[in-house]
């Protein structure tokens, strides 16, 4: 009994270590602020932890986990008491060296992306994040969203158009 319990815990730990970094990143792009991200990430993996023993493998594990993450992130957005977040992480106070400047530049781009993503509807944003950033296949995206594949495609193409427009509004050059 105890052995089984330990084994299950170990399995969960391995799952967490493999998937938590990307889920954390996805949550950020789905609009979960930096201060809330650890808590929301924990919420996601509480659910994973609880349901993992019953996971039947009908979908890929990562698809299943992303599906949970989408729902938890959606719930998070709906909560009225969500803390007001600064739009971006704090930038380094000084950035003198080349690596620091590079990191600063990266963060500025990510902040720009977040502002652009914020202009999208949640449904389009989810597709875009999962496909363009998390590199799920469109089939996996549809599975995570629990929507027909064609719907996922339609959302993706529409989301791309909106992203391009938002990018231009943010000061990017039109392609």
């Amino acid at each position: 009994m105890q052995a089984a319990s330990q084994s299950s815990t170990h399995d969960f730990t391995a799952v967490f270590r493999e998937h938590a970094p990307s889920v954390h990143r996805a949550l950020r792009r789905l609009g979960v602020g930096g201060a809330d991200a650890p808590d929301v990430l924990q919420e996601v993996f509480v659910v994973v932890h609880k349901k993992l023993p019953g996971f039947e493998g009908r979908s890929q594990l990562r698809t299943w986990i992303y599906g949970i993450a989408l729902r938890v992130a959606s719930d998070h957005r709906k909560r009225a008491y969500v803390r007001r977040e600064r739009p971006t992480d704090a930038l380094p106070e000084r950035a003198g060296s080349a690596p620091e400047l590079k990191e600063l530049e990266r963060r500025e781009r990510v902040a720009m992306l977040d502002r652009a993503l914020a202009a999208l509807s949640p449904e389009k944003r989810e597709v875009l994040v999962l496909f363009e950033l998390e590199e799920l296949t469109m089939k996996e995206v549809a599975a995570a969203l629990e929507c027909p594949l064609m719907t996922a495609y339609a959302r993706l193409y529409s989301a791309r158009e909106e992203l391009r427009k938002a990018y231009v509004r943010e000061g990017g050059t039109p392609s």
Partner: protein, 239 residues
């Protein structure tokens, strides 16, 4: 149904604007801090562990549990009837005031993770020690003043405290203490007091955490939060 070709991702499409591609690539370079992930993992295992994963329902950690328990608590409004039916269960809400003093200076616990875990089911089943039973009888026989109305502030505050436990235990503790002050005896009292212990432990305030834990154990000897509290105390550096 046609088999669609997988689209080329924007950042791999040379026809796409270079700036837009760079923006998407930048997000790929974001990595969560390892220490943060370890804290989250510990939080999940502590709060949702309930049995290390075998137990189907014991997974909830601080948040979900708390959320669930708080929601339930608010729904029940800490009703006396519930207390009566529970018989003095360990997780009994609206505990007698005499217990609170026991918590000493410390801070309180709520147990976000752990506590919740078990408490929702533990409530009614709880096995009560003689002391608990006495305390419970006292509560019931005093015909109590109606339990404080939890109100939305109660749930929101305790949820906020629980949610902050992993990322910001100091804030979580402050919120839990505020909850203690504003809602000394609410349906979320056990959660709150467990959370205080966990926050203190997370802040490495060992002596205070231990004192708070002792009081917690005395008041809720069968609480499902206790294993998690013990685990958290074991991680503190102070003796």
């Amino acid at each position: 149904m046609s088999e669609e070709r997988e689209p080329v991702r924007l950042r791999d499409d040379p026809a796409e604007d270079a700036g837009l591609r760079a923006m998407l690539e930048a997000a790929q370079g974001e990595h969560a801090d390892d220490a943060l992930l370890e804290r989250v993992l510990a939080g999940v295992l502590a709060g949702g562990g309930g049995g290390g994963g075998t137990s189907g329902g014991g997974g909830a950690t601080a948040f979900s549990k708390l959320a669930a328990s708080t929601a339930a608590a608010v729904a029940v409004a800490a009703s006396v009837a519930w207390i009566a039916s529970t018989g003095v269960g360990p997780a009994t809400p609206a505990p007698p005031a005499h217990v609170v003093p026991g918590m000493g200076d410390a801070v309180a616990p709520l147990d976000a993770g752990p506590a919740d875990t078990g408490r929702s089911d533990a409530g009614p089943v709880a096995t009560a020690s003689e002391e608990d039973a006495d305390a419970g009888r006292r509560v019931l026989s005093r015909a109590p003043a109606p339990p404080p109305d939890p109100g939305p502030g109660d749930a929101a505050l305790i949820l906020a405290a629980t949610r902050a436990r992993v990322s910001d235990p100091a804030r979580s503790l402050a919120l839990a203490l505020e909850h203690r002050e504003r809602f000394p005896e609410s349906a979320a009292t056990e959660d709150r007091e467990a959370l205080v212990v966990l926050d203190l432990a997370a802040l490495d305030r060992g002596p205070e955490a231990r004192r708070a834990a002792e009081s917690f154990r005395a008041r809720w000897p069968r609480s499902a939060a206790l294993p998690h509290i013990d685990a958290a105390l074991a991680r503190t550096s102070s003796p």
